[in-house]
Subunit: 458 residues, 4 copies
């Protein structure tokens, strides 16, 4: 059984002065998960802790379809953690929904996890040899076993989490709820984002700062690579991984994953996308009548391109905002129809124009081809495609759902062949050299393995 | 029982050469209703007709939640009509979902209706006196009775529809499916939009042209006020209301209702909104650092304002696209939280700026107040509010859900008082004088009753 | 469109002294419908009336699946009517669920109907000619139209119901709720049962008295053929059909339809079934080791046969009580499996025995054949089949779902051929001559048309 | 967290010659679980195995509500196991639904379990100390861990199961599906039933033989206490617990749990109940006019009593067969109403009679009191209550949901006080001395701990 790749959103709240509002934590989790929904639409869940009693609700489906007032009112507690799950798996299974809630030597535990453990199979086999049984197919269960084992000879849950870091290789941001504490931790390579906020005296953790805005909390700082943050007895403290830590944040968070209103490692995501557009305008200027962006992440890049190039920005597409869960997405033959339903070009602006169209990436090339075709049908005279990231050439082993090498168009075709494939008049990618410039505030290195093959964990 | 006010979306398809694809019409209806979803989210339905046999599926809920492949595959037919329903009613009831499907003297009939019949109560009482019974609370049943009665002494269904126009006072666009025909009709005052398209030999009708784009159909023309269009025997023909017709299209379609990628009466909606922004920039220029729009309809107006004023346009808000159905909307006390969850200001752009914010309208003033407050919290130094329509001062009797006079903020407060209420630094509306300029291609008059009190039907 | 045949259960309660318990009527209806569930499992519904405001809940499905505390608590009122629906229709449709709730000249009206109107098509056409529209395919809508039309020139709803009797030909027991009254009425031919009960000062109506037991009410009397009973202003009064009335209660109620604990026309149903067994023992005695009954209605007949014949009674089958809604029932090829799953012979009692097996009727012969086969497999040496009714040879036009003549085994085969078909050692039916003896307390005539072809309404 | 007490039903099928019918095993499981539904109504599930690939479907709810053709058609495989679950737990939780499906050192495993492990807490702690984590609250997970650990040093899954028996104390019948085998095992004390059947070359296992009848299989024999039966490579083989085994079948299976058409340890259950009635007639004869049984298990006892006493047997109650899941059961205050809805006395037979009423047991006394009261209301002159088992005085530690000592009426009241409490004219229980006589074919001892306090496992 293969560990599934996951890009997820995690959240935690430790309430110091709950007062009489017993559902404050469940509602905060609901609002936060709504804000993190873009990180995973397959499943979601919230676990709460009232006087050491854990209860939870989780299921396949969107946050808004999974929770309602009746359910949130039942989830009483002084702490809570939440999770939204993305899965590349074809048949979504409810058993993998998180938080993973379990009992172990020290009572109950709930875990929300974002990432991918690359030595999961090895650990699974090691634990099996001493009698372990697995009820899910997710790496999170391997993390749980590791922590449960390290807990036996450690003084606290946070110490067990730090000890586990010595065993777990891979990308993982964690929010853990023990009978009395909320623990937030980030892998020593710093691949996945995780940040800390406050709301009054409450301590909150989230994959992205946009979750804090949704609940009126203030962004405090990012969790450091290898840091284990503990919320306990009304206070926050930290311990650090005793091994070597480094900074390798996934740069694709800035390009695509994160919500543009989030702040990651002091870098405003929306601005990163605008910068990418500006760089593109410099690197591969082309004359045109209008610059348009493919919603949603192509839009700030298009605005940046326009600002730099002085070619007017225009909204080029109307995006149907009701299509989130349409069944037609899943039907292969209907993918073109789905694109058409999702994006309608504003014909009156496109007709007869030389259009510069910005998108965040090209994976297989089929979606891009459909979009270019939509513009042609709408009367565009020329379509110049600019991609606000370098070509994808490598798979991701840390949780991002990138297809295998052979399915990546950039591995089989030159840029010019790709241009022909998508029927664009010109095609340009952001250069690998300038890639890090999109996050000028981050004075650290990034994981760019999908673009350059340099994997930070081996 | 009062007739309910409705803003709805309607659709019809008459397939000339269906070939072997028996579900072509149901799928086309599904795609079209997805594109018209913005016109009504309470209920939806599709009725099909296969060799004079009608079948249908309708229910409360969004199009995407109501239909799936299994249901669409069951709806076989050579013709279909569809409906999405908005209702101002507090307790949505499934009995009012459309199309209304019924049997009468000439067999079966299905009706999709957008509008409001102002003499519905009179007609209801008239029919009751001869024994009529009502199983819904919608005006559509009154229309059905009127047609059924007129059909007795008329030669065809289209003639019966024309005769009904002499009885029905109010706003109504209709798509009707008889055993052999699709009929599209628009009230003699021309209040509600309805247009004709073609896809190959197929004839299609829709409230807005964006539905045609979704199914790859071409816009042909609008149905004329008082026109009854018949799709029958593979061809399209027309007859016209023998009474007086006039043009009174609801101008609010351009400002808010319609999708910006739609073309109504030769006027591209997106462009109308940009023009409104440009007019605002001329009428009530104010100095600022950035112009932002409240999504979605405020954005083109903001771009227009920016173009005219040369103040830079910026995206000011991140709109959560997963909030469509959140239960918290309905809870009065949580409305502020809902606004916060739906719209997150891009703090980094707003902070320390003089912000010019464009929205389409102010009704009660509370939402606007919450949005201004979000900008203040995000650090805006000044917030200047521009509204791309004149102040609402009158109720609508033709189907638009505008609150009663006393709830309209513009009836109780002067503009300056309203400005104070919403805590803006300045507030300006589009002038009534320049209102019609937003649709320069329409060489006809409009219904502007909600702004000026001049009601076209009395 | 053909009117559907229906065997249904109806209920009504008029509460004189509700006190503070606003849901007394909805809960009483729920309990009563649970007790009447055997009369119809396709759909059910309850309508209540609080100060002239009608509300209702109805849907496809069993009573227990349709209602819960939340729904019943919402159905507040001083009166209520309910309905359980059986339908011979292949595709159950929710639009035909009852009570039928409507508005007409005198306000709102709710109707629960059991029966079949044989001149429904004529009336439908007559009404269509004056503009009527039909939203269901049930006769109940025809009844509603008839009442609505008669109401125009009558002084009261009860007078309109009596006037309607002059137009409606067929079988119908009705419970009607007007803004202020509950009306119970029975067709002038007296085909379908309907009885009156009291609970304290409350007045209740039901198809069968077992519904009264379920709510702690007392049986008062049957509604007379052609009688219109009115519960109004805390009192009960009657008016009678001014035409000719007669007694033609469907004798199959005693044999099969009614619950054995019900009392219809002073005749205890269980006792009727025992009498049928006793008559069979006299008419067609055969030697055997044990007498067994096919559950449920064959059991009292078997006990009666045993008492008369002195052959020991035994339970011969274990009936699976969880099979009520299994999907396998509907799959033709799986019918044998369904019989096997539903009825398991007690092999230890049957093995090596000469078994006398009593069942209530043979329709197509297939089920009976499967049951005889089960007994053979279980080791029965001989299987003698006794049927507690005469052979079915005619269709029913009054609401009972009997197949067409050609599908009735008794029309195509002699008794001996049928015996061979079902592989029984002997086969005997109750004689037509002795049929009426099963209801000795009823001093009136019956409808026995399905057995003798004498139809009371022509 | 406490292990939950469970009375459940389990099933397994190993198909030797499946041919092309890939869903043969899933459908057989469905039919079998329908037949075992009486053993547990809280949850159910089926797991199948196709070429070592396990898939499953399980959920809260009845078999008939959980499965449909679409789901069964998806569950393809050559083997299957199933489970129906009863739980005394107040809030049913889906995580405890079975089969428990897991991965461990040897691949995948599915376990269906009926029983209760009394040393579960000890084992849980032992395993926790080496890092085990628990995702359910059921004993089945403890069994799974035990087997997984024993499997490490054993040659086969069956050997691991036998080794586990040395660790597991308590009642357990198991059906286990490994990648290639179906294993059936019964605890060395022989507390819970489990039997073997064949259908053609297929090998089947079930808690009760009635499941075999439902699928057309033949009963072969019971699994012995401590026996591990293996279905593998088209054949069946056995190995036995190397420790001491004994026979302690729960005698309450004959009195109440098992379906009367089942054969357990060569004893026909229906006959056991009749014998109990006969013994009661001898032990505590009382004069009466009729003998009636409380459905369902009281009925054969009543027939036995009648045969022995020559007092006529009569059906005394009509049992509502649609009440299986009514929500009103759960509402404490409505329990009397639920009894009334479930059981309606046949007044005409009871009125004026001296009634002898047989029921299987008295737990708290409240239900019995309600039933006696129903008979009084129906006009019974005398009500004599006979109980076909001795008084309950002890809790069960092996999986039967018997309340704590203080709630058992027989611990707080003498028989005469109990009689007064339930308002009966006389009350008698089956004597402990004669109890074993109800299963004359079983030449072994029983567990009667709930009656006599002699617990077979300590």
């Amino acid at each position: 059984m293969d560990g599934l790749k996951e890009e997820c959103g995690i959240f935690g709240i430790y309430s110091v002065d709950r007062g009489l509002d017993k559902t404050k934590c469940s509602y905060a989790s609901y609002y936060a998960l709504m804000a993190l929904q873009h990180r995973g639409q397959e499943a979601c869940g919230i676990a709460v802790n009232m006087d050491r009693n854990l209860s939870y609700h989780k299921s396949l489906g969107l946050v808004d379809d999974t929770f309602n007032e009746e359910i949130l009112d039942r989830l009483v507690g002084d702490m809570a953690i939440g999770h939204v799950r993305y899965s590349a798996d074809k048949t979504p299974s409810s058993q993998n929904a998180q938080p993973l809630v379990l009992n172990y030597i020290k009572g109950s535990l709930a875990i929300s996890h974002n990432g991918n453990i690359i030595n999961a199979d090895l650990l699974r086999k090691e634990y099996e040899r001493t009698g372990a049984i697995y009820q899910t197919t997710s790496d999170t269960e391997i993390i749980a076993y590791t922590i449960a084992r390290e807990r036996i000879n450690s003084k606290s849950i946070e110490e067990a989490v730090e000890l586990s870091m010595h065993k777990l290789k891979g990308a993982y941001s964690l929010v853990i709820m023990s009978p009395q504490k909320i623990i937030a931790a980030r892998d020593p390579w710093g691949l996945k984002p995780l940040c800390i906020g406050t709301r009054g005296n409450d301590i909150v953790f989230a994959s992205e700062s946009c979750a804090f805005d949704a609940i009126g909390a203030k962004f405090l700082r990012d969790v450091e690579p290898g840091e284990v943050v503990v919320a306990y007895c009304g206070k926050m403290s930290s311990l650090h991984y005793t091994g070597k830590s480094s900074h390798n944040l996934c740069i694709f968070e800035y390009i695509y994953f994160a919500r543009p209103d989030s702040m990651i490692e002091n870098q405003f995501v929306y601005e990163s996308r605008k910068i990418a557009g500006r760089i593109l305008a410099k690197e591969s200027f082309v004359n045109g009548d209008i610059v348009i962006g493919v919603p949603d992440s192509g839009i700030p890049a298009a605005i940046g391109f326009s600002e730099e190039s002085n070619i007017p920005y225009a909204e080029g597409f109307l995006k149907n905002r009701y299509i989130a869960r349409t069944f037609i997405k899943s039907t292969q033959g209907q993918r073109e129809k789905a694109v058409r339903l999702k994006l309608n070009p504003l014909k009156e602006y496109v007709r007869g124009k030389r259009v510069i169209m910005i998108d965040d990436s090209i994976v297989r090339g089929t979606t891009c081809k459909h979009i270019v075709n939509l513009l042609r049908e709408a009367g565009a005279e020329e379509v110049h495609v600019k991609i606000s990231s370098p070509p994808f050439i490598n798979p991701c082993f840390y949780g991002t759902d990138i297809p295998s090498k052979k399915d990546l168009v950039a591995n089989s075709y030159t840029i010019d062949e790709t241009r022909e494939l998508i029927k664009a008049d010109s095609l340009a990618y952001l250069s690998l050299d300038n890639l890090e410039k999109i996050a000028p505030n981050v004075k650290k290195s990034f994981c760019k393995a999908c673009f350059n093959g340099e994997y930070p964990i081996l």
